[in-house]
Symmetry: C2
Subunit: 196 residues, 2 copies
């Protein structure tokens, strides 16, 4: 588990043993059963989470109680309600486990301390934030320019494992379509799979 | 103009005169007439731009040549095709001036040099990237959860100046609705303005 975290950092910044141990001391580990809420709307957001294994969903719930999935987070992904985390405000999103999950987590105080003390980790977090921004921009473009069908095709091309791991209702919520629309797409895709 | 840049940095990180002059030496200034393309799809992306005055639009053009507006950038905003800028790939977005604009710009080499040499600027860019990520996440939530009417209301509540500065066709393209839909919303809003 510690090795996975180190490999993840070292993909962007090389660390000596001492440096990694210092970085590691700022994180704590957590296991969470399927359905556990790591962040709940309206409550303080104490941590950013890093997924060692498992699957999370970041959810926005509207006034009528309907859920929209803002993002999924699987192995090697970071997730939080970042706006609330950085600003200290209450969560306006929720983060829930879709599978039993093993996680690392870091508090704002530890995060800031790490950024103060380690230029390498500052650089690491900058690159992660840039990638997060770019990923979100790609998703905005997909909403502006792609049909539900094309958004679905893109998603399963990019993350084929999601189809096996995520209930169709949740995929529909991520794509911003109804369960019925997704079922139509899903069956035509299965048909394509069988005939090609 | 130099003062505006300094004020912008110092809102997040205090800088001595020497530090600011060092930072400033990594930027060059540029003026650009309305309609000028700062970034063109398919071409290399040399710079990230900071808007001193004026207004830009970041555009995605689909295979049929239809334009979608990914974002507007006005005074004090940073904009680029970040994916192409950081990776060195060709632009898949275009950046065009909607008004005569005065800009600062920084190349990838200067950006990396600045991050290497100045921990304060590394921290500044981290905060900007985080805010960019959060802003994009908010927009994703608006696509998932709001009607076109509500997206329009949010936009003009947040950036009332856009209504005066941006042609309605462009606003429609940003909101992901047709020009006709926006006109309907626009006239009902004007009606509300007159009666309240």
């Amino acid at each position: 588990m510690k090795t996975k975290l180190r490999t993840h950092f070292e993909a962007l910044v090389p660390l000596t043993d001492d440096e990694f141990n210092f970085v590691h001391s700022h994180f704590s580990s957590q296991t969470a059963k399927r359905s556990t809420y790591l962040i709940k709307e309206g409550e303080p957001v104490k941590y950013v989470y890093f997924v060692i294994s498992g699957l999370l969903k970041l959810i926005y719930t509207n006034e009528s109680g309907e859920e929209s999935i803002v993002s999924f987070a699987m192995e090697d992904w970071w997730e939080s309600d970042y706006m609330a985390f950085y600003s200290g405000s209450k969560a306006h999103l929720s983060l829930q486990c879709l599978e039993d999950s093993v996680l690392y987590r870091i508090s704002l105080e530890d995060y800031q301390n790490l950024c103060d003390k380690s230029q390498k980790m500052l650089r690491f977090f900058l690159q992660k934030a840039q990638r997060g921004h770019i990923g979100s921009q790609q998703r905005i473009i997909s909403f502006l320019t792609l049909s539900a069908k094309d958004r679905y095709e893109h998603l399963i091309d990019r993350y084929p494992a999601l189809l096996q791991r995520v209930p169709k209702t949740q995929l529909a919520s991520y794509l911003g379509v109804s369960r019925e629309t997704l079922s139509r797409l899903y069956s035509s895709k299965s048909y394509l799979d069988r005939t090609t």
